[in-house]
Structure formats: structure tokens, C-alpha cells
Symmetry: C2
Subunit: 365 residues, 2 copies
């Protein structure tokens, strides 16, 4: 087992990575002082795979565990679905010392976390992420929330879990495209923060499927990724500075998701494209070398993530989406640009012309 501590004073918590975590989770939760009632929030597919195993482990450790299933998918990430979770909180009479466990991907974690943050003004919360993206990103850092008709994640809370428990074995049931999507964030951590992770990824002959990775390598990749996220959020819990680094690849990535209405590309695919574009801009500015950009491109290619934007996606629409974000953020388009493998910086000094050229090249024109 590998353990990472997210250091946030009296809100610190462990991230535990273990190939048999689902069997051990009951005792672990006892060890960190939890007891009594537990409500597992999950979606039907994940619960069918792992729900019974988790409930058994919890019951064995003496917990009074119940579960609540909510539909999967971003379009169900609403206050309405959270209200369904509240109904279960009422039904099982969850108390202040009770615990909500999120068993699922980012959407489940965000909603269950928001329910835990707001039921009785905050009860215990534990994340058991089941997608690669949730393991290395969404489950760490305390962001919880739901979407509003007018935008994603407009309603939410910063609320730290008591523990994040990662069982890499659950990745075997993850759809391959979702696995690859999560790998985009892993590569991101290599570029912005952790050169050892980048090198480890480069050393693997194949990266595009879970089964190509030896278990200990996968664990090491998860470890480096979680460690990076944990370090950054520890230093900037409420996203006022350093945490912006995590948006590497997300400026253009988010614009691509918007203009393709979140349907054409997964989040990771859009971020991969955004990293290619950001790397390109960094090369143009002389911030990093063509060699490093090629190394990034090679990794993204190895994961079988896209490096080229589909020809029919409208560049003007992407630029408009960037400008809309700019207005919301208050004035400037902010980019995270790499300076070396393992180091990136925030800038608002990227000209419209440079962005335009990078987008043209992203389409391979």
C-alpha cells in the first residue's frame, strides 16, 4: 500500500492506493475514527461491479452501511439528484457523525461530496474513485458541486474528504476510452510538475490500455499523479494561485469541449488537444523547446489520445469561447504554459495572433 497525505492542517487526509483496497476499506475507516452509519452513493453500473464487495467490507468492520444509487452522467449532476441523496439521508437518519462514501467517477464524487458537505452542515465524507480521472484528479482537493442550467459546477462547496481510497483493480471494468481520457491528466502532471512521472510514462512501450501496465507501474503512476495533485492543492486549497497550474491544457481544451457541446471529445481528449496547443504556443514564445513539445506529443500519441483537431471544428468558434471565458474571469485569457518537462507558469501575455496560429496548426493546416 502507498499512502499520500493531503496536508491541510486539521483537514488533512490520507490518499491510500492499494490493489486490494476495496476489501480493506472497512478496517481503514475504523482506523481513522469513523463509525456508525454509512451511506454509499454510487451509480447502478459501478455498484453492480463493486457495491456488494464494499458493503461486505463495511459490515464486517461494524458499520451500519446502506446504499443509494443515482444515475451516471454529467447531465444528472444537478441539485435535483442531490435532493434524491438527501432523501436517503432522511430515510437512514444519517447523523452528524455518519459518513457518505462516493463509489464512482467524478460525477458521483462531486454530488455525494456536495451532499456530505451540506447535510446537517457537513458530515464525514470518503471518496472511492472508480475512474482513472477521478483517482488522479476529481477525488482529490475538496471540490464538490453540481451543474446549473447556465454552466458547469456553478453550485458547490470546498469540502475535504476524510480519506481517498484507490483500488487500481477497479480500472479493469473502466471503458478503454475513459481510461485514455484519464491518462491525459496523468501526462499533464508530468509536464507541469513531476519529471519522474513523465519519464516513467516514456519508458512504457504501451500506454493505451490498463492491461499493458504492470500492476506496480500502474500504482507508481497513480502515486506520482496523486502526489502532484495533493501537493498543489495543499498549497492552495481555495484556488487562488498555484492551483491554476492544474488548468494546463484546459484553456483551449475547455473551449473545444464547449464548441463541440461536450459530445465529440471526452474531457481528456480535449485536454490532450489543449496541451498540444499550449505546448505549441510555449515553443513560439521560446518558453520550451521543439524537442520537449515532440516528447509531449509522443506520449499523447502513445496513449492514443488525439493530437489533431478534427477539420470541421470551427476555429472562430473556439476563439469566441475563449473570449467568453475571458469576460467571466475578468479581462484576460490566462494560459498555463510549460517551461520544461516538470515546470509550467501562468501567463496572460499570449496574443490573439499566437492563439490563432496555434489553433490552425492544431488542425494540421
Amino acid at each position: 500500500m502507498k499512502t499520500i497525505t493531503v496536508a491541510l492542517g486539521d483537514r488533512s487526509y490520507p490518499i491510500s492506493i492499494d490493489a486490494h483496497a476495496l476489501k480493506k476499506v472497512g478496517q481503514w475507516l475504523v482506523d481513522i475514527g469513523l463509525k456508525g452509519k454509512v451511506l454509499v452513493v454510487s451509480n447502478p453500473v459501478i455498484f453492480q461491479h463493486y457495491g456488494q464487495q464494499l458493503l461486505t467490507a463495511l459490515h464486517k468492520a461494524g458499520f451500519d452501511a446502506q446504499f443509494c444509487l443515482v444515475p451516471a452522467g454529467e447531465r444528472y449532476k444537478t441539485l435535483k439528484t442531490v435532493e434524491r441523496i438527501y432523501e436517503y439521508c432522511v430515510q437512514y437518519r444519517l447523523e452528524r457523525r455518519s459518513t457518505i462514501i462516493a463509489l464512482g467517477g467524478g460525477v458521483i464524487g462531486d454530488m455525494a461530496g456536495f451532499a456530505a458537505a451540506t447535510w446537517l452542515r457537513g458530515i464525514n465524507f470518503v471518496q472511492i474513485p472508480t475512474t482513472l480521472l477521478a483517482m488522479v484528479d476529481a477525488a482529490i482537493g475538496g471540490k464538490t458541486g453540481v451543474n446549473h442550467r447556465m454552466g458547469k459546477n456553478l453550485i458547490g462547496a470546498f469540502y475535504q474528504p476524510k480519506a481517498v481510497i484507490i483500488d487500481p483493480q477497479v480500472l479493469q471494468t473502466l471503458p478503454p476510452r475513459e481510461y485514455r481520457s484519464g491518462m491525459a491528466e496523468v501526462i499533464k502532471y508530468g509536464v507541469i510538475w513531476e519529471p519522474q512521472l513523465f519519464t516513467l510514462l516514456e519508458e512504457q512501450s504501451r500506454l493505451s490500455h490498463y492491461r499493458y501496465l504492470p500492476p506496480e507501474t500502474l500504482t507508481q503512476i497513480l502515486y506520482f499523479s496523486c502526489q502532484t495533485k495533493a501537493t498543489i492543492v495543499s498549497q492552495d486549497e481555495r484556488e487562488s494561485g498555484l492551483r491554476a497550474l492544474l488548468n494546463y491544457g484546459h484553456t483551449i481544451g475547455h473551449a473545444i469541449e464547449t464548441v463541440t457541446q461536450y459530445r465529440r471529445y471526452t474531457h481528456g481528449e480535449a485536454v490532450a488537444l489543449g496541451m498540444i496547443a499550449a505546448g505549441d504556443i510555449a515553443v513560439q514564445l521560446g518558453w520550451w523547446s521543439e524537442t520537449e513539445q515532440q516528447r509531449q506529443k509522443a506520449l499523447i500519441t502513445k496513449v492514443k489520445l488525439p493530437i489533431q483537431l478534427a477539420p470541421d471544428v470551427d476555429i472562430e468558434a473556439i476563439k469566441n469561447a475563449l473570449n467568453w471565458d475571458k469576460k467571466v474571469e475578468g479581462g484576460t485569457v490566462r494560459f498555463i504554459l510549460p517551461k520544461a518537462i516538470g515546470r509550467a507558469e501562468i501567463t496572460d501575455q499570449v496574443s490573439a495572433e499566437l492563439i490563432h496560429q496555434a489553433l490552425i496548426r492544431l488542425k494540421g493546416q
Copy 2:
């Protein structure tokens, strides 16, 4: 002006009490670093009295201030009403650095605070309480939230404001019964914590209406009360220990509210009855003297709050309500009992018989 600091590390904030606070509030908010967009959340009646004055002060200080009116009353304290506030957040494009101001009583403060706690995962929040109860209690301590069909305040967050601004002059439009209700909490602070406050109240010939109190005396009463609440919540932000003292009079008070369906007695009236009963139990246990109990009773009488439970209220129903609370809290009925004027303690060692006798005497039988 009198200022109290609620000391909570990097979440510390001032409570400012000033007879012309509403005129000065714009500059004060600039002084604590706020700027940009402000959404004032209020109810129609309060806004009619004080809304324009507040907006003018905000505009003069350079704020882009808008307002949003929601219905008054506990039954509108729901997630549905908070969703209406979110609609205004969307419409005025509130950003992370924007501010929500609650101008109203406890219900407005709770809902506006919850909206501020959850919009974009938390924006700036300022309380301008307009009822005595909100000034000395609800606005201080960071409790925000809404009711659920199954119970009061089941959904919420601990979220500290950036400032609490109290203008005693707004009490002149408060209905007298609401003023007296707030005085119950003031007396409570005298009994559990601040003997100087208790004595100050005893020194006044009349207490039952705002107009009987000289402005400087009223300010001093508000100061002692806010100082007490601030000290207690500073030491126990999340209600794990000391904050329980604030429940003095609330154990039986809450049970009385429940069995009379929140219609017959105001919160303060029920708390007054609860304090009489708790004081009685303390006398029986030898914790404090009959003389002190009589002093408490004299103050409550002077405010024209009830000291005797109406004969048709069923004692068995009150006991059942206490036992239901017990189950929720996990095992025991906890009482806060006075040991002297200015000092109280928590105990779960009150026998059912003692409670029964105290209730019988509360009905004057």
C-alpha cells in the same frame, strides 16, 4: 461605533455596531477589501424600509449593487428559494470576488448565507441583521442553511461572513413581539456567560419595548450579547463542545415549539419557558439557588415573555418530543443548566422524573 472580532484565524471577521451603520456600510466594505458586484438579498418589507438607503451607500462607495427579494418566513426557507437567489447570481453574473449581503432577519441570513457558501463554491458574504434575534444570535457564527420537509436546518453549511454590521436603529420597525423574542436570547447570554449583561438588564426599569431603552444602553446590550456569542463560537466553530452552552433553554424550548407546531409561541417565548424549566431543574439539583431562579424569572417577566406554559399544552407530548431528539442525538437528553448568573454546564444526568416535575410546575400546577 463598537467593534467585536470573531476570532477564527484566517476566517476572522468584525461585528460592527453603530447607530448609523446603514449609511456607512459602503465605505466599511471597501475598507475590508471588498469591491465589484454586490447582490443584496432581502424580503419585501425590510427592503421597503432600508433597501434604498443601503443601495445608495453601496453605490456611493463604488459597488455595482443589485438586489433580490425573497419571501419572508420560515416556511420559505427552502432549497427552492435558494434556487431563486442562484437565478439572480446568474443574471448579474456574480463572480468569485463578488459579495452577497443579507439584509433581514435570521431566515434571510440563513438562505443568503447558504447561497453565498455554495455559489461558485463560495463567494463573499456580509450579514446586516434587522431583527434583534438575528443581531445577537443568527448572524454570528457561520451557520447557514435551509429546511427540509423532514426537519429544520437539515441542509446547510458552516460559512463565515466577512463582516456583520448592526444598525440598532432598524429595530424601530421590528414588531414588538419579535423584539421581545430576541430579548430571550439576550437574557440567555446573561445567565450562561456574562453577569455584567444580566445586571445591566436588571438595572433597566422597563425592557419590553425598544423605545424604553436609551440608545447607549441598547448598544451596550447588543455589545455584550454579540461578544458572548463571538467568544463561544470562536472557541468552537463547528459545534463540538462549548457551543452547546448556547442551547440553554432550548432543550425544552424546542420541544414546546414542536408540540405547538411552531405556531403558538415565538422562538424566544419558547426559549423563555425553557429557561424557566432549566432553572427549576438546576434548583432541584442544588446547582443554583432559588434566589437566582427568581432573578431570572423577574427579568423574563420584565421583558413580558411568558413564564408559565399554557394549560392545554400536553406534557406527555413535550416529553415525547424530548425523547425523539434524544434518539437523534444518540442516547441522552442533554440539558444546559445554570450554576450561577454567568455560568452554565452541560449535563445528561437529569432524570425523567425531574423533567416531569419541572414541566408540571411550568404549567403552574
